[in-house]
């Protein structure tokens, strides 16, 4: 089974018998977009999203001039790249964290098991504190063995306070109680670390619905693993429907995953990417740059 060959190389191949002059015809474009679609799927972009995306690009590419210094392949790539950046949110302000409510502003992290919520909670606390906030982290995972200890350990490392209750406490109550505690401690941002859960686990999804309704967080962020495959769309849709996501954080981008899941999630739910995480250390959190992710998805 053939390994993935770089998209630009494959496009050069397709256009090799085109003179590099004139306009891109529908046939040229169709042939090129077949390769683009495969490259997107190879990058874990959802099948349907890839198809819709390619349709959008098609309209822009047919009839485009290829007279300038760009080869036809480069021309198509550049149209695809621009469109990707656009779909990923461009320079949209929605990509930024919104903490403009009356303090304490609450950020709730949700997602599948092992996506990186707990680690990301600590990175966010670290990031916000550097910006002058006083964060509080809340250990609302009562299920995973040593989940509370994990957050407490990170809190100690960072000297950021952690609110927790003894085993057996109800996660909804823990979150509610933490708000009063934040006020007492003069913390102006509260980060809720919830347990990992499957989007099809009704009982567990009801738990975060209840927390959301009770606490009314300013931000509800889906923490999603950059390595996620085709199911990312379904997962994000289910979480979005349950708790009305305000954004997502794409984790583990320090590997070689292409991160196509983020494109799928953004285009199907409209939920913007707000941060990317790029390592296990506490400073490995970056603001989201759509152009970088676009290049990454295209393997450029």
């Amino acid at each position: 089974m053939a390994m993935f060959e770089s998209l630009s190389k494959r496009l050069e191949g397709i256009f090799s018998n085109l003179s590099g002059q004139g306009k891109l015809t529908e046939d040229d474009v169709n042939a090129a977009l077949r390769e683009v679609r495969i490259a997107l799927i190879e990058a874990d972009v959802n099948l349907k999203v890839a198809r819709q995306f390619v349709e959008r690009v098609k309209q822009k590419a047919i009839g485009a001039d290829v007279m300038g210094s760009l080869s036809p392949a480069q021309q198509v790539l550049s149209i695809v790249n621009e469109e990707l950046i656009e779909v990923l949110g461009g320079t949209d302000d929605k990509n930024k964290l919104d903490l403009s409510g009356a303090p304490p502003n609450v950020i709730m992290l949700v997602g599948l098991q092992g996506a990186g919520k707990t680690t990301t909670a600590a990175k966010l606390a670290n990031y916000l504190r550097k910006q002058g906030s006083r964060p509080l982290m809340v250990a609302a995972d009562m299920y995973r063995p040593a989940a509370v200890k994990q957050l407490q350990t990170l809190g100690k490392q960072l000297t950021v306070p952690v609110y927790s209750e003894p085993m057996g406490a109800n996660p909804v109550d823990i979150c509610a109680n933490s708000i009063a505690y934040a006020r007492e401690q003069a913390c102006n941002v509260v980060i809720l670390d919830t347990a990992g859960r499957l989007n099809i686990d009704e009982r567990m999804m009801n738990e975060i619905i209840t927390i959301r309704n009770r606490i009314q967080p300013r931000e509800v962020l889906l923490v999603a693993d950059a390595m996620t495959g085709q199911e990312a769309v379904r997962v994000a849709q289910d979480f979005n429907q349950a708790v009305s996501l305000t954004g997502m954080i794409l984790t583990k981008m320090d590997g070689d995953a292409r991160g196509g899941a983020a494109l799928s999630i953004r285009s199907v739910t409209g939920v913007p990417v707000k941060f990317m995480t790029v390592g296990e250390k506490m400073d490995a959190l970056e603001p989201f740059y759509p152009d970088r992710l676009a290049s990454r998805i295209l393997g450029m």
């Binding site: 098991q113 407490q152 390595m227 495959g229 997962v235 590997g255 995953a257």
Partner: protein, 279 residues
Amino acid sequence: QETDTITDDLWDELEESLLAADVGPGTTDWLIERLRQRVEEEHMRTGSQVQRALREELASLLGPSSSLRFAKQSPLTVILVIGVNGSGKTTSIAKMAYRLSREGQKVLLAAGDTFRAAAIDQLKEWGERVGVPVISQHPNSDPGAVVYDAIQAAQTRGSDVLIVDTAGRLHTKFNLMEELKKINKVIQKFIPDGPHELLMVIDATTGQNALLQARKFAEDIGLTGVIITKMDSTAKGGFAFAVADDLGVPIKFIGTGEKVENLIPFDPQSFVTALFAQE
């Protein structure tokens, strides 16, 4: 009846269901080509025949089912568990420990993840729940030293199986892959035919990166098997076909939940059936 003929729509549907299950464009192309060839050669007439042939091809990519390998020369079997961050290594170790203990094996666990916050506590808590002792040192201590300790302890106590937990690591991190080689060497020094299993844990919700991961781990330290976790999700784990076929490494277990009982031996037939199941 014309409903079961082999049409372009049928090919499109097959392609789509494979891609949607994370089988990946490369393997999907290969499968479709292979099926078209078989349709010719075997004079297939119906869509059902094609569907059946596809299931055969898929199952044959996975290879036969394969159970855990135990030590022949030494009394102690060592199982080393590796994989990228958050895939489900520690939980799968607890599940294996539970399973093996119930089969009458004397199991010992080694807390080889000394890096991640509370990773040692997590394994210890699982050990208590399952009733299996855990050998550990302080956070940030050398994982090689933990493994050394654990082998000594296993030999003194007369354990049958030692399962070693390791920190999650992305396959692209040179230093962390070197650390893993070192852990492997410590095992080999004391148990020359070990580790008897080198199991890589992959999350079923992973997409095409799974193959890159598996390939790198296989190259750097070798793999004897794969565990696919989180099969209770809506993801199908279609990368398994490329992983099993390309690397020739069998899938040994499937994780189907967060409880200790949620680990089942891998069965190629039911995996293929589940691939086409509608939720």
